[in-house]
C-alpha cells in the first residue's frame, strides 16, 4: 500500500522534472527566435512566452537572457521610455543568428523524429 503511493508520487516528481527539462532546452531557441526579427524589451518577450506557455514563472527569463548576453548571442541597446527610466532592448547578434539557425534545424530533426516515434 505504502510503496504504491510512494511510487506514484515519485513518478510525478520525475515527470515534472522531465517537463521542466524539455521546456528549458527549447526556451533558448524560442527567445532567440522571438528577438530575431525585432529588438525587444524583456517584458514583451515575457508576454510572448507566457501566451505560448513556454515559461511558468517570469523570473526564468532573466538568468537566461544574461547567459545569452555573456555568450554574445544577444546584446542590448538602451532606449528612452515615456514612462520611467530608459529601457534595455535585447537584440540578436550575428553569432546569435548562426546559433539560432543551428538550433532550428536541430529542432526540426527532433520534431520529425519524435513525431515518427509517437505515431
Amino acid at each position: 500500500m505504502h510503496s504504491t503511493i510512494y511510487s506514484i508520487e515519485y513518478s510525478n516528481m520525475n515527470l515534472d522534472n522531465t517537463k521542466a527539462q524539455m521546456r528549458k532546452g527549447l526556451l533558448e531557441l524560442c527567445v532567440l527566435s522571438i528577438i530575431e526579427k525585432i529588438e525587444m524589451y524583456p517584458s514583451d518577450i515575457i508576454q510572448k512566452l507566457k501566451s505560448s506557455k513556454m515559461i511558468v514563472v517570469e523570473g526564468t527569463l532573466y538568468p537566461l537572457l544574461n547567459r545569452l548576453l555573456k555568450s554574445e548571442l544577444v546584446s542590448y541597446n538602451w532606449k528612452e521610455s515615456n514612462s520611467g527610466p530608459p529601457r534595455k532592448y535585447y537584440v540578436i547578434t550575428a553569432e546569435g543568428k548562426a546559433a539560432l539557425k543551428e538550433l532550428k534545424s536541430t529542432w526540426k530533426d527532433m520534431e520529425a523524429a519524435v513525431n515518427n516515434s509517437l505515431n
Binding site: 523570473g59 532573466y62 538568468p63 537566461l64 544574461n66
Partner: protein
Amino acid sequence: MKKVENINLGGKKFTIDQDAYDELDSYLHSIEKKFSASSGVDDIVYDIETRLAELFEENQLGSSIITLEKVQKVKAIMGTPSDFSSHDEFYMHSDSEGNYAQKRLFRDPDDKVVAGVASGLTAYFGLGSPLLFRALFVAMAITGVGMLPYFLLWLFVPVAKTTSDKLSMYGEKINIETIAHSVEESLTDIKDTLEDLGKNLKNKMG
C-alpha cells in the same frame, strides 16, 4: 495604523508598507544570493527590479500603496529563485568553480580522551592509531611547549557531528567559513569540559 517607506524600485518611486518592504527586501536579497557566483548578478537583479516595478504599476488597483498582499502576488508571478534557477543549472555552474570541501579536519567525538583532537588529526593524516598524536601532545605538555597547541586545535577544529562530517573527516583542509561558527561552539564545549574536570577534582579532594 502602519508605517510606510518610500522606495526607488527600477527607477520608479513607490510608497510601501513596512511589512511589505521587509518581504520585498528579503526576496531581492534571495535572488542576489542565488546568482552571487555569477558576474551577471547586477544585470539580473536590475532587470528583475525593473520588471517588479512594472508589475506593481499594473496592479495598483486604486490604492497607490504597496501592501504585503501585493508583494506576495508579484512574487508568485516572478517565482522564487529556486523556481527559475532550476531551469538554468548550467548557468549556475558556469562561473563558479567547484568550492566543494569534500575533506576537512574534524575532532572525532567517538574516539576521544579529552576533545578528540588527536584522533581527528590521525584520520586527517590517514594514520592508523591516534597514539602517536596523543604521545606528541603529552610530550608537548610536559616539555616547554605546553598545552597551547592542543587548546588552539580544540578551539578551531569543529567536532564531527553528522555522518557526513565523519565521512569528510579523512580530509584535506579546514573550511574557513565554518571556523567562526565552530569557535563559538567550541568555547561552550571547553567551558563545559573544564567545569566537569573541576567538579571531578572537587569530588576527589572532598
